[in-house]
Each structure stands twice: as structure tokens, then as C-alpha cells.
């Protein structure tokens, strides 16, 4: 008996993509705008989230879902202390959040009370971008101390995002970071990418990011009373 060939032609992550579509539909029913924040460990994901909360929490209602590889609640605790509902998804050692994990996070979350959902992905520049979550925007945070070569070394991550935040610009005088070289790599991979250079430490540039984000949230829905 000779083997017989069967054509399949199916995207290997199609099951994840289908769940991501369900997540999106669920968020849209509730008029929630959502962003998925990705970065390497230490780039400042939680700091950007804290700054975003600080600037916007009197205007819109924000919620945060934290992805972590271990049951360490440092990040979620900081956010809860700022008065914003936060839950943590523990990936059990996995290197990324996937759409199914977010779906279970959404189950536990008080969705009726928020306008903006911020999802903090696991710190990693490789895996998270392969797994769509169903959020409206994929945001990458790069930071100056990581070096200017990251787009050249992690092209897939820079290809797969809609927004680039360049954090820790207050360190530019102390670090050999060639911004032109960095931005050339970014433009080669993703010419449409909108970027926001800022410093969570000094607050420089933070307002441009949060005002832009606020505008997107408002385009999406009427903020809840």
C-alpha cells in the first residue's frame, strides 16, 4: 500500500487566531478598546502602564490584565494600588500569552466597567508576536539600554506590531544608541509603524502617547459614565 497525499494548507496557529477573533468580538460588544503590550523583560511595560493610568484614569476607565510566567503579583499589585482593576494570568512557565489564556482572563474581568483594556504580555521579544490575542493594537516597547540593533536581531517582532514606544530616552546621553540606525531598521521592516519616544522616569513624551491613545479609545466608543 503506497501512501496517499492529502492537501491541507492550514495556518498552524489558526486555532489561536479563531479564539482571538472571539476575544475581539467580546470586547467590541462591551465597547472596549484594547491593546497588547509586548517588550523584552525590563523595557518598562509596567512603567508605561502606570504612566498611562496616571494620565488617563480621570478621563476613562481602565483595566489591566497581567501576563506572567510565575505567580508573582508584583505588577498586578502596583496597578491595583493605583485604583485600577487588574488581574493576573499565570502562563505556568509559558513564554507568551495566547488567545485562550486571554479568553479565560476576560471571563474573570469586570468588563462592563471599563473603556480601555491593557494587556501586559510576558517579557519576551520572540514568541508573543506569533500569538494574536484579539486586541485592537499590538504595542511594542523598546528601550534605549537594550541597544539600537534590536530591529535587526528580532525582525519578526518589529514586523508584527502597530505601535512602537521607545522608552528611557532620558538615558540617551549615557548610552551609545544610534537613533538613526535604530529607526532605519524599524522603517525597513514596518514603514507604517507609529512611534512614541518617551521617558517614564522624567515624563517626557508620555503625554503624546496618552493623548493619542485617548483619541483612539474615543473613536472606538463613548466612554462609560
Amino acid at each position: 500500500m503506497s501512501p496517499e497525499k492529502v492537501a491541507v494548507v492550514e495556518k498552524i496557529l489558526s486555532a489561536n487566531d479563531q479564539v482571538a477573533q472571539l476575544n475581539r468580538a467580546r470586547l467590541e460588544t462591551k465597547n472596549i478598546f484594547s491593546i497588547n503590550i509586548m517588550a523584552s523583560p525590563g523595557a518598562g511595560k509596567t512603567s508605561v502602564i502606570m504612566r498611562t493610568i496616571q494620565n488617563l484614569q480621570n478621563t476613562i476607565k481602565i483595566g489591566v490584565i497581567e501576563g506572567d510566567t510565575a505567580p508573582v503579583t508584583i505588577d498586578a499589585d502596583k496597578i491595583t494600588q493605583a485604583g485600577v482593576p487588574a488581574i493576573q494570568i499565570n502562563t505556568g512557565g509559558d513564554c507568551h500569552l495566547d488567545a485562550v489564556m486571554l479568553a479565560s482572563g476576560l471571563e474573570q474581568f469586570p468588563l462592563s466597567d471599563i473603556d480601555l483594556l491593557i494587556v501586559e504580555n510576558v517579557g519576551n521579544l520572540i514568541c508573543p508576536v506569533a500569538f494574536q490575542l484579539g486586541t485592537h493594537l499590538n504595542v511594542l516597547i523598546a528601550s534605549i539600554p537594550e541597544g539600537d540593533d534590536k530591529p535587526y536581531k528580532y525582525p519578526a517582532m518589529y514586523r508584527g506590531v502597530d505601535i512602537l514606544i521607545i522608552n528611557k530616552i532620558d538615558l540617551l546621553p549615557y548610552i551609545d544608541f544610534n537613533m538613526d540606525y535604530f529607526l532605519q531598521g524599524v522603517r525597513m521592516l514596518n514603514p507604517e509603524l507609529v512611534s512614541f519616544p518617551l521617558s517614564c522616569k522624567t515624563g517626557e513624551g508620555v503625554k503624546s502617547w496618552t493623548e493619542w491613545l485617548l483619541q483612539r479609545v474615543r473613536q472606538n466608543s463613548h466612554p462609560k459614565e
Binding site: 501512501p3 497525499k5 492550514e10 496557529l13 486555532a15 519578526a156
Partner: protein, 114 residues
């Protein structure tokens, strides 16, 4: 490090199509893998041998067709391969380029016995 979940997806897709075709065994699985899809095929193979045990796909051989990442220069239309570090167009030096291939990641076909 996400090769385990990727390998589980491969098993799910291959098994579903094999059942539809009323196969008794899957002998070969053909996967198309772009260079930019950041999957380590050796790791997939390692997990595959463990998770495919006692399934229709047990013992099936995984074949990876690797697609290079190609860049098209938007200035002079020269097409070149992204090997190692990302580079501006080697012909005219323009950084205005477009990625044309390399992000593929799908299961192309399976070979079965009925």
C-alpha cells in the same frame, strides 16, 4: 520556546485531516516555514516524538520546507535575501524595502495510509 504549543497545533491539524480522509496512519507531514516565523524546527521534532505517541500520527516524519526571507527594494526593484543581519538594498543602498516572503507558517499536506 513556544514550540510545544506549535507542535500541539500541528498534531491537531494533521489528525483532523487524517480522520476526514479515513486514514489508518499518517506517515509524513509537510510544513512550510518562513525564516521570519521564529520557529526552531529541531525543537518541534523533539516535542513531536513525545506528543504524537499513541495517535494516528505516531511515527510520522516531519518535513520542513524553509522559505527564505526576501526583501524588495522599492527604489530600484532589486530583490535580495535577508541572511544574517537586516541590510539596506545592496544595489542602491536604499532602506525603503518591503518584506515579500519569510513569514509563512502552515501545514501544507500529509501523507496517509488507508
Amino acid at each position: 520556546m513556544h514550540e510545544l504549543s506549535v507542535t500541539e497545533s500541528i498534531l491537531e491539524i494533521a489528525s483532523r485531516h487524517a480522520k476526514q480522509a479515513e486514514a489508518i496512519k499518517v506517515t509524513d507531514i509537510h510544513i512550510v516555514l518562513g525564516r521570519l516565523s521564529s520557529i526552531v524546527d529541531d525543537s518541534v521534532q523533539f516535542y513531536w516524538d513525545i506528543i504524537s505517541e499513541n495517535t494516528l500520527c505516531s511515527g510520522a516524519k516531519l518535513h520542513f520546507k524553509r522559505i527564505p526571507a526576501m526583501l524588495l527594494c522599492l527604489n530600484c526593484q532589486y530583490e535580495y535575501q535577508l541572511e544574517g543581519e537586516l541590510m539596506p538594498c545592496p544595489k542602491c543602498g536604499s532602506p525603503q524595502v518591503k518584506v515579500t516572503t519569510g513569514e509563512e507558517f502552515w501545514l501544507d499536506s500529509i501523507e496517509i495510509e488507508r
